[in-house]
Amino acid sequence: MTLAIQGIGLTRRFGGFTALDNVDIAIRQGEIRGLIGPNGAGKSTLIDVLSGRARNPGGQVLLNGVDVSRLTPQQRRKRGMARSFQRTNIFPELSVEQQLRIASWAVEDADTDEVMDELDLRALADRPAAEISYGDQRRLDLALALVGRPRVLLLDEPAAGLTMEESLDLARILRDLANRWGVTVLLVEHDMQVVFSICDQITVLHLGRSLSEGSCAEVRANPTVIAAYLGTEA
């Protein structure tokens, strides 16, 4: 079984505070891996380390078995790794259509129409991104990551700010990507409905360490996870 992405001993410190403490993670190709955990557990930090946003983190990142730890984000993108952001990170002055098109150039002129339709951005094509609503910006952020159908997707709370229907649509799209195209997804999300409906495996992060890892059912039943994270709703 090939590992699409693997992190070994990932560590990140801010001053004296350790946000990510020697975390190992390995995701198979075509797997959707949920990453959950309380606020401040280190989920976004983990994505930052994997995607090359964090400067000088500890540990090693392997993409399809190749060490990419020293590569810049753009080099990682060229090798098939893309990410979205928890705090919207788009091109405010460019129109929706234009920024998606530009994004496609980096990956051999990929098609943008599909992404636009899937994420319902067609109607907003000509609007500068700064002027669209928050939820729409979230979808645009996600679309920027999806352009060119990357091999490995690191998504940081993609469903936040979306309506329930949209979240479910999103879940369907991701499942589709994984099933049909073998895209590997690391999904950070607080919307448990989405997580439990599509994830193959779930990693629970707590205080910068991996608390548990397993199938949805296992995680759901884990009393520690319920107490620390899931609460009554699940």
Partner: protein, 231 residues
Amino acid sequence: MSLLAFHDVHALYGQARILNGVTFEVGAGERVALVGRNGVGKTTVVNTLCGGTRVAQGRIELRGRPTKDLRGYSAAQNGIAIVLQGRGILPNLTVEENLLLGGATARRGPWTLAKIQELFPILSERRSNPGWALSGGQQQMLAIGRALMANPDLLILDEPSEGLAPVIVDDLAALLVQLGTDGMGILLIEQNISLIHRVAERFYVLSKGSVAESGSLHNVSRDELQGHIAI
């Protein structure tokens, strides 16, 4: 007496008309939800209240008084605190300073720095960290805490559950209900059906810049609520 009321409000960003006759009101101790799809204008309602749009027509009342010339500070000075969408944390100020800023109107009430730090212990742990060093969810807690610091009569929350862990959303639901019971008005703008369902008594559905539907949420199931919103 209503704390906040919009009567047939039309509002524009530049040339673009976003609100087309919005009417709603929230009274003391009421827990009201404002819902709708992305881009219908929910946040624009909040912005309008803060003077961020041009009001072409209609009337906005604060505590029953029609208010012309709304400014950023008008709401706060009338006892309305807002949890902004996207959080609006001041990145260079420390966590504690962010909280103190919430108390700028110096209204007295149950919420003090200590109380908030008790509610969200992380805000006490990180009190001298700059705002930008918090995780997304921690920032959301800070935004909620900051709004409470104002001891408002009306609390407006624009998608507060965003980025919060489910346990914390549970706590938030309980908190909002309690606040309402204690007499604070709550205007909750949300996508999280379960949170709306647990908190709100009444709802307004916004569609294409005006209120398409409204009603009580007593004895309405989650699915029915979902149906209302999906207009």
